[in-house]
Symmetry: C2
């Protein structure tokens, strides 16, 4: 390895292109609700607003499309995605399929590094699982745990697909605006997953995982139903 001996710990310095920056801005704006679902995402407006050209905005929007945050209609442009009850149900059903398979695979590739990373993330989840932290922080800590599960599975496909649906999950939850009255409750269901993984018991790990995501699905679906009822009392 060619490395200057006297070099201090210089990190790669990000160097993320303008597209990534714009994509991140838009993501945040959509997830935090500044851009309402169904709203048109005008290239010109966003470009003017951010002080950049339309080209990087367009590319960023295409990136967001593959994350399921916006939809694209030819010759009409990009729109912030509408979330339906079925879409949320489908999303969580799909997550169960992916992440259960990832966990099954993870058991075979289990090692101390993964163990350490998951333990640390679990601690982080519990740390932010109080009303002192906002929901976005809690959700991101939660999803990061799941991301580590996919990342450690050894099959990159799981991570790729998870990243695509993670943002969508975050979006769905933020649309609801309020996930649980007791933030600590759902957070606690992570622990059995890690314990089962440590013990190497596949059946137990899968069960714990299924319960955890299922519980999350139940909460999200419930809250979304309440939200819809309040919106269209008819």
């Amino acid at each position: 390895m060619n490395e200057t001996p006297s070099s201090p710990g210089f990190q790669p310095l990000d160097r993320e292109g303008l597209v990534q920056t714009v994509a991140k801005m838009l993501s945040k704006a959509i997830v935090t609700g500044q851009l309402a679902p169904g709203a048109r995402l005008s290239e010109s407006v966003v470009a003017r607003e951010l002080g950049v050209s339309r080209a990087p905005v367009r590319e960023a929007a295409r990136l967001l499309e593959s994350s399921g945050l916006v939809t694209y209609e030819p010759n009409r442009g990009f729109f912030v995605r509408q979330v339906s009850a079925k879409a949320i149900a489908d999303l969580y059903e799909f997550r169960i399929v992916i992440e259960l398979a990832a966990v099954k695979r993870l058991i075979r590739t289990w090692n101390d590094d993964i163990h350490a990373a998951l333990s640390a993330q679990l601690a982080e989840i519990n740390r932010v699982a109080t009303d002192d932290f906002d929901m976005l922080t809690q959700v991101e800590a939660d999803l990061q745990f799941h991301r580590l599960l996919c990342s450690g599975s050894g099959n990159p496909k799981f991570l790729t697909v998870f990243d695509q649906i993670a943002t969508e999950t975050e979006f769905s939850i933020m649309v609801i605006g309020r996930l649980y009255d007791d933030p600590d409750r759902l957070a606690k269901t992570h622990e059995p997953v890690l314990e089962a993984l440590c013990s190497g018991d596949e059946t137990q790990a899968v069960d714990a995982m299924q319960y955890h995501i299922g519980e999350a699905q139940r909460l999200v679906t419930e809250q979304f139903r309440i939200l819809e009822e309040g919106k269209t009392p008819q």
Copy 2:
């Protein structure tokens, strides 16, 4: 709408954007091997070659990236993806996860339309499963059958993800250049899947499906190993 009343069967006249056209061109060029794996995909060259600007080429390349046909390195551009033995193994392992789940779900939404579509596609598979047709035709007929399974599952996520990995599957097979000596053999393993679905037996359907994809994986992996040995005899 300005349309002549006596107008005969005019098809929608493509109306798919230039981007889609370019993407299709590139797809074909990559899948048929005109662009070797690892080759740089110069925007300027492609644009000049097709007589269009760089913008649509760039967008098309981004589309291909999400299909796994090309990779993208910031400030360096797009490259035709290299396929490794592990990548192929990972791909098929992932397909098994997705399509098994899709089949399980399909049983619950089973109806005559889906039955008819699958039967027709099965007939098509058998029709082209001879040496009279080229491999690309055979592979596409095969994948279309699988696509129908995902499409009919009722959860759009399965279809979205399948479409992403279908092109990659096609690519992997075409790289190998020769899948099987007896085209009819693998084709025949589709039938038990359809039969099991008709009978509504989930266990049987999953078994048949797992056998079918597993068999395909075995063949592809084997052929790829042979190809690699021939390439680097060391």
